[in-house]
């Protein structure tokens, strides 16, 4: 990640995030410099922990959103408090899985696009390869990548609405 990418190319992204996080004027350059220092601290450990499980832009977006939310609440955690990603530690226990699966079906029912539901079922629940699904859907894998992101956005929106509705 070059400085040009971070400070120039990502400027519109950071501006949009700051507008959404803060309801008052903030010093843009100061904030972005702090974020940069945060990423580069401890020999850029945060950056080096990036494991290419998403696009760099998506990763940076998530980092920036959470950083600015924490910043707003003056509760910035030490980077060391976040455990490095470990796939083995991400397995939820069986009981939670079952409950959540029931919830997931309800979320699917609340998603307007059944095409998106199909994409999530195939890729996440049935673990299909993207190339295999792209072929089944008669689309390119590049198209599937965009559809997958939109599908996850719709699933998440359904989950957020579900919380509002059921107060969970």
């Amino acid at each position: 990640m070059t400085k040009e990418f971070f400070f120039d190319k990502c400027r519109p992204l950071f501006c949009s995030i700051m507008k959404k996080v803060f309801d008052y004027e903030v010093e843009y350059d100061e904030m972005v410099n702090e974020l940069y220092v945060y990423l580069m601290a401890n020999d850029a450990i945060k950056l080096r922990n990036f494991e290419y499980r998403s696009t760099l832009c998506q990763w940076l977006k998530v980092i920036a959103i959470r950083y600015f939310i924490n910043k707003r609440g003056r509760m910035i955690d030490d980077t060391s408090q976040e455990p490095p990603y470990d796939g083995r530690s991400q397995n939820a226990d069986t009981e939670k899985d079952m409950t959540a699966e029931g919830d997931m079906e309800r979320l699917f029912d609340n998603m307007p696009s059944k095409r998106y539901v199909h994409v999530i079922r195939r890729l996440i629940l049935e673990d299909w390869e993207p190339e295999q699904l792209a072929k089944e859907m008669n689309i390119t894998t590049a198209n599937l990548y965009n559809i997958k992101r939109r599908a996850m956005a719709q699933l998440t929106r359904a989950a957020l609405n579900d919380i509002k509705k059921y107060g969970k």
Binding site: L13, R53, P83, Q90, D103, M104, A142, M152
Partner: protein
């Protein structure tokens, strides 16, 4: 929240990109219920995603038509039209003009530069997005020439790795369910493709059409539709500043040309009633400047640029 339930940045980004596995997806969905900060972060991420999705309506002005050897398909289309109009030219000279003016780049021709060569040879050229097949038909009836930009792979129903406008072709005719083209990649003046393939391929350029008129009577202005571009409050504030400055630029130019204030417009004696400060202009005149300013800001966004306050 216990540390084991913490959703790492890595996992959250993978989840949003659809790359998390089933257990991870469930873990995120469960965590949203108990972690207000995560909920807010996802809310913001989704809002940004929706804003990005809206960019599907951005016009591909800077996309490159870049098929046929050396990425010169648009130059070859324009050469074809010059030839048809019996205007003498040298192909090498055309290429040099296009390169020198940056209408042709090593990677291809930006969509907004297609037709510049024809204008250079004094032909009347219009460009518009969101054209229809009927627009093409109407242009051909008037013996206008039409260049469109298409996704070449879609045009010929080939394997398509990327949905993108990447090829300029000249439309020669439309008959029933077929469209007849000059395709510079094939050097064929009469390629027939099905109407459905053509429409499928053409939509990738937002139905971009470059029209070469035969006479001034054929000119129908078609400004880009900007209805879907919403502006935030800070950009709306820009409107007034741009409107006032545009008026001052205009007034400066007029004064340099010797124009002065007069109660009525008088071209012979160079008098103009609007040679007064912007603040003193009647509302009707201010509204004209504001509309120009507003549409300019909207157009910048529609063409895919961001205006960022420093």
């Amino acid at each position: 929240m216990a540390n084991k339930d913490y959703i790492s940045d890595e996992l959250l980004a993978a989840y949003l990109d659809g790359n998390a596995n089933e257990a991870e997806t469930l873990k995120v969905l469960n965590a949203i219920k108990v972690d207000p900060s995560l909920k807010e972060a996802l809310d913001i991420a989704l809002d940004l995603e929706e804003e990005e999705t809206a960019t599907y309506n951005i016009l591909p002005m800077m996309k490159l038509a870049a098929e046929s050897g050396n990425n010169i398909c648009s130059v070859l289309c324009e050469a074809f039209i010059l030839h048809r109009r019996e205007i003498p030219f040298e192909e090498n000279e055309l290429l040099a003009i296009a390169q020198n003016n940056h209408w042709l780049k090593p990677e291809g021709s930006p969509l907004h530069s297609i037709g510049q060569l024809l204008a250079h040879y004094d032909l009347m050229v219009t460009r518009n997005y969101d054209a229809t097949i009927n627009d093409i038909f109407a242009a051909l009836v008037l013996d206008n020439d039409v260049i469109v930009v298409v996704d070449k792979e879609k045009l010929y129903q080939q394997e398509d790795n990327e949905d993108a406008p990447n090829h300029a072709v000249v439309v020669r005719g439309i008959q029933d369910e077929y469209v007849s083209l000059f395709d510079p990649a094939l050097q064929d003046t009469d390629v027939n493709v099905s109407l459905s393939s053509f429409l499928d391929a053409w939509k990738e350029s937002h139905n971009y059409m470059v029209r070469v008129l035969q006479s001034i009577e054929d000119y129908e202005p078609q400004p880009i539709n900007l209805d879907d571009v919403a502006l935030t409050d800070d950009l709306l504030e820009l409107r007034e500043a741009i409107a006032e400055n545009a008026h001052d630029v205009w007034a400066t130019a007029r004064k340099k040309e010797g124009w002065t204030f007069g109660p009525e417009r008088d071209d012979t004696n160079k008098k103009h009633p609007d040679l007064i400060p912007y603040s003193s202009l009647p509302d009707s005149e201010k509204e004209y400047d504001r509309l120009m300013a507003l549409d300019t800001i909207k157009l910048v966004k529609k063409l895919g640029f961001e205006i960022v306050k420093k």
